[in-house]
Symmetry: C2
Subunit: 377 residues, 2 copies
């Protein structure tokens, strides 16, 4: 008999390759040099708070100790911050990790789940990994469509619906009232994963009030965006304690490191730094919109730390623009699904990053305007 | 209709509470003060290498960037270290995280899995979370029983067998030849999770050669023990590339942070520090054995950074000893399953930690020798 393992039928049916190519892989495949501008992962190029940098240095000698599996201090700091009880909060290894846990709690092979076509691919990845049947509703222009998502959830008797507010990759947002109406219409036995990774950067009025009496809504937050801690993996979920308690049954209890917890507490305390980052992001959005306009393209309004730019033609053209940018040392990404894929997505940068981007864009567009060219598509 | 989510049948059947009480929880429940000696989690109280501490401080400003999802540099450093190709290695959030991924790859509800009764509880936790049917074989004295494990795997047509070498919680180890024989006897379609968390601290000759032609064996290593990086969450699995590749289908690609990868590379390079830690551990084992002997107890031989002490009576007595130690500010643990639970487990410490331990032990035993006492059981 040949030696071969028996993977689960769900795993056996999954694609052998997964599309999570990081910028480092692209750099290695290309020049071997770092990108001249790293604007593709919606990281906070403005960095973490100096108080976080200090806290990390101070905590280095203590990394021999496991992190508190209850993340007591961080959860209590978050509870105070949000005016909630700590039992409403569970900490996890970023929103990716928390989405993985949430999907495992709810989704068995064949179970229906609803998302938007072109929304955050890692959610779809987790649903596939659990054998769920994913139904994807189209966007309405640059917006996820709460009404259609809820209708599809009702139609399919979905166990779980995903929406991001603000949205990635389009940068749009819905008001709290719209999200509230979505929640009110949600079937009584359907969970809502409300991904608020970018909420710190949205205009006031985008986040509904927390409703601890509703077991269906799981709000997902992260320190990876506005707080600039992407490299430490720390996020949290907020929900009714009856729901949050379920995470204990399957989560990796020691999965959030001691250093990550310490750094997150320091980040939460530095309100001034968050204000600084917000101001930088607001200015960067305007700069990126100006650059787009100067080159005959339209930047979509953004409630996030990135700007989605409509290249004005089809997905093939936008892909050519993106590939041209990559070839010129600008790390950027684009939506993967039509018709969103007429756009490219540029993270907010510093003026020097934007200068690199604009020079590259100018070169790409000049090349693409020439006869029979193909900027690497 | 009442609002209530539909958890999977596997999750619904899981116990509502899980026994991962960290030392911080115990401290909060008791005096609110840190334990006087933290000797319960087999952490490396000797700390991380000074070069790691420096690398962490240097990398602090860069935590705004996600970690490389391929962990290219760390995997290649590990490959060089072990004389393997990088495709034989996948990095994960500690052995806990890797075990979780491995179990998800193989175990669907009802699938048979084999372990030892009283072995690492997190493995059993992951099997339960996936609905697996866990069969537990008894230890033979202080040893996991490879022959019995393989026989049980054959009998139950198990998909996966777990063994730790060296073993936790007993501290024993098998020679490479014994493990090799176990692998040779393993059914052709059964995976072996060979947990080598403590292998850096074992005598030479405990680790079999790597066999890249055998898809069944997954070796699990960590930076949490000898390298002192428990608070950063970084481990790795070694196996045939055909097996390691399967992790890509379900793992959390951005789950190992940038700082953790950087620190692990620095730790791997500091061969001198590892040597220092090994010497400290060797000395500490002798000291702990002396302490046990001075109080009429027998320390078991240890191939790890902890010493398991046979308290010489039953589980109830050992539990009383343990509770007495905890009440006196010594964080320690004990095996959970009879007959192993006649023992307590003390992590290797510094002389000052051992002094605290010995004083506490003396007090506990004096109390327990008195009439009708109960040291908090």
């Amino acid at each position: 008999m040949k030696r071969a393992l028996r993977y689960t039928s769900t795993v056996s049916a999954l694609p052998a390759t997964v599309p999570f190519t990081g910028p480092e892989s692209m750099e290695r495949a290309a020049t071997g040099q770092p990108f001249a501008a790293r604007l593709g992962a919606n990281e906070s190029v403005y960095g973490p708070s100096p108080r976080v940098v200090q806290a990390i240095a101070d905590a280095g000698p203590d990394v021999w100790m496991y992190g508190d599996p209850e993340a007591h201090d961080l959860r209590h700091a978050l509870a105070r911050h949000h005016g909630l009880i700590a039992d409403a909060i569970v900490v996890g290894a970023g929103i990716d990790g928390l989405l993985g846990t949430l999907v495992r709690l709810l989704v068995a092979p064949g179970d229906p789940v609803v998302t938007s076509a072109g929304a955050y691919p890692t959610f779809a990845y987790h649903v596939a990994a659990n054998g769920g049947a994913l139904h994807a509703e189209p966007y309405r222009d640059a917006f996820e469509d709460p009404t259609a998502l809820v209708a599809k959830a009702r139609e399919t008797h979905a166990k779980l619906v995903y929406i991001a507010n603000p949205d990635n990759p389009m940068g749009s947002f819905h008001s709290a009232a719209v999200i509230q109406a979505m929640i009110a219409d949600l079937p009584d036995d359907c969970a809502l994963a409300l991904d608020e990774a970018y909420i710190d950067l949205a205009p006031p009025g985008a986040a509904p009030l927390f409703d601890m009496g509703d077991p269906r809504v799981i709000r997902l937050r992260t320190f990876s965006k506005a707080h600039g801690l992407a490299g430490l993996r720390v996020g949290y979920a907020i929900g009714a304690p009856v729901t949050i308690r379920m995470f204990e049954r399957v989560r990796d209890h020691f999965g959030v490191g001691r250093l990550a917890q310490t750094a997150a507490i320091a980040a939460l305390q530095d309100v001034e730094w968050l204000r600084h980052v917000k101001a930088q992001v607001a200015a960067a959005r305007l700069e990126l919109a100006d650059i787009a306009a100067r080159h005959g393209m339209a930047a979509l309004p953004s409630a996030t730390n990135f700007v989605t730019i409509d290249c004005g033609r089809d997905g093939l053209f936008a892909r050519r623009v993106l590939n041209g940018l990559l070839a010129r040392g600008v790390f950027a990404r684009m939506p993967l699904v039509a018709p969103l894929d007429r756009c490219i997505r540029i993270s907010c940068g510093r003026p020097q990053d934007h200068a690199v981007f604009e020079t590259a864009l100018q070169g790409v567009l000049a090349d693409l305007a020439g006869p029979d060219t193909d900027a690497g598509a």
